[in-house]
């Protein structure tokens, strides 16, 4: 690609990946290449060690004591489906929020057609959840609370720790969708009292696509979880029935070992950099982005407008312009990668008042710079003002910055 790229779509996929991720994946393919643990030979065992290393890395980063309760899947969506379909019955009631991604909403709506009762607790137009509204929605047969940790539309953080106190007091399972927070902010599954947490490897964790999984706390009786996929595990091979222990109970088929090699390397990089430091830098840049957008005529910024209450995900609209058109102009004229539309979250857009047209979303990562933000702000100002220009050949710091620093 010769066009200048300011990549602000980290909420969809974190990019760039640290060089060590590429190196770990290349090493796996060139030096290991075997099926993890299926065979007793050296390469197979090394592949199994790499996968186990990824389990330890995920457990360590997200605060789960036992790495064997980290279950790997292809993404958070699969993990969420496994958690809900594996534990819920048609006689159950489930409480969720109006900020959910379709990775939660669609499985719940499907379960609803099978008899399960669902209450969707409405959040504020800024995406804020009042935990007492969750408590009010509980019924005697409420089996699970499912909630997103940070909105993929407006970045607003939801009060997981407060809801965990409610769920634990009532003996109700709490399933958290951490797709936008794992790697972006500190997460502590055991300390917070979260029962199940779904994550994806390819966003803030900076790993490759095709990695993700489910963390199952020791409070959950895993034998209750019905696997949604069964098959070969390399264990209990004499039995034609599924093993009854984790992780094999829920992990059938060969794992994405090369992807997990990359994920382990990505987490090692995050740990070296420090999640707190990454969070502090992203919060500062998010504040810079919000402040800059607020100064541009015709631009409306969604969410709390408070970077301390959200992750680095910012949505906005431009009066009189289709978000899709704005996104196209940002890309074609300025080389800024955004995501426009509904971001797979119709319920969230209904909550914040941007359904069905959606928003333009800019999302930050650890490699985003202040220059990137200023360049993007200049581009938004030009597009919102009706102007266009070719992609500049000069460095971004020569572009309009809107005085947003």
């Amino acid at each position: 690609m010769t066009q200048r790229l300011v990549y602000l779509d980290n909420a969809a996929a974190g990019w760039p990946n640290p060089p060590t991720v590429v190196e770990a994946m290349a090493r796996f393919l060139t030096e290991v290449g075997a099926n993890p643990g299926r065979s007793g030979h050296r390469a197979s065992l090394e592949a199994a060690r790499i996968v186990y290393g990824a389990r330890e890395a995920v457990a360590g980063l997200l605060g789960l004591a036992d790495p064997l309760r980290v279950i790997f899947f292809a993404n958070a969506t699969f993990a969420l489906n496994q958690a809900m379909r594996g534990l819920l019955k048609p006689t159950d009631h489930v409480v969720t929020t109006s900020m959910e991604h379709n990775s939660v909403m669609r499985p719940l709506r499907a379960l609803e057609t099978e008899g399960m009762a669902l209450t969707v607790v409405r959040c504020s137009p800024e995406g804020v959840l009042d935990p007492t509204d969750i408590e009010k929605a509980l019924r005697p047969n409420t089996a699970m609370i499912v909630m997103i940790h940070a909105s993929n539309v407006v970045g607003t953080l939801l009060p997981v720790e407060e809801v965990a106190k409610i769920s634990r007091a009532r003996g109700i399972l709490l399933l958290v969708d951490a797709a936008q927070t794992a790697g972006a902010i500190p997460v502590a599954v055991d300390d917070w009292g979260v029962d199940l947490l779904a994550f994806t490897g390819h966003k803030a964790l900076l790993g490759p696509t095709g990695t993700g999984g489910l963390l199952i706390s020791e409070r959950v009786d895993a034998t209750r979880i019905r696997p949604i996929v069964t098959g070969g595990t390399g264990s209990d091979s004499e039995a034609e029935s599924q093993p009854q222990f984790l992780p094999d109970q829920l992990e059938s088929g060969t794992l994405n070992a090369v992807g997990l090699a990359g994920l382990e390397a990505a987490i090692a990089w995050l740990v070296r950099e420090g999640i707190d430091q990454i969070r502090a830098r992203e919060r500062e840049l998010t504040a810079r982005l919000i402040a800059g957008l607020l100064e541009i005529p015709k631009v409306r910024v969604c969410g709390t407008l408070d970077a301390s209450r959200q992750v680095g995900v910012v949505s906005f609209t431009v009066d009189g312009l289709d978000p899709a058109e704005v996104g196209l102009r940002l890309e074609e004229d300025f080389g800024v990668s955004a995501r426009v539309g509904l971001q797979c979250s119709p319920a969230a857009h209904k909550t914040i008042g941007t359904f069905p047209q959606g928003t333009i979303r800019l999302s930050l990562g650890p490699f985003t710079t202040a220059e990137d933000i200023d360049y993007a702000l200049g581009a938004v100002r030009m597009v919102a003002g009706g102007a266009a220009r070719p992609i500049p050949k000069s460095p971004p710091d020569t572009c309009t910055s809107d005085g947003s620093s």
Partner: protein, 94 residues
């Protein structure tokens, strides 16, 4: 079997348990090696952990303390001559 066995083998539920066990034993300074599970013993998991019989009790303690579920423990002699006796084996980690 007569006399001192050549090996002690820990059979574990899965390769993930074996990985966890290998790490725990190595951290505790107990020489170990992951080997294909002898079919005569189990078809539970494709690999098991081999240690020196002298380390059997300590290895069991370490595995238990690490939360590694042990399916069964066996003392055995290999059917084939072994070029690198377990006692000299310092593990096979790369």
């Amino acid at each position: 079997m007569t006399g001192t066995p050549s090996y002690t083998v820990f059979i574990l539920p899965s390769v993930s348990h074996a990985m966890k066990g290998e790490k725990a034993l190595t951290r505790a300074g107990i020489a170990n090696k992951l080997i294909p599970t002898p079919r005569s013993l189990s078809s539970k998991c494709g690999v098991c952990i081999r240690v020196d019989p002298a380390d059997r009790d300590r290895a069991r303690e370490v595995l238990t303390a690490a939360g590694v579920e042990i399916s069964t423990v066996h003392d055995l002699e290999p059917s084939l001559p072994n070029r690198s006796p377990n006692r000299a084996n310092q593990g096979d980690q790369t």
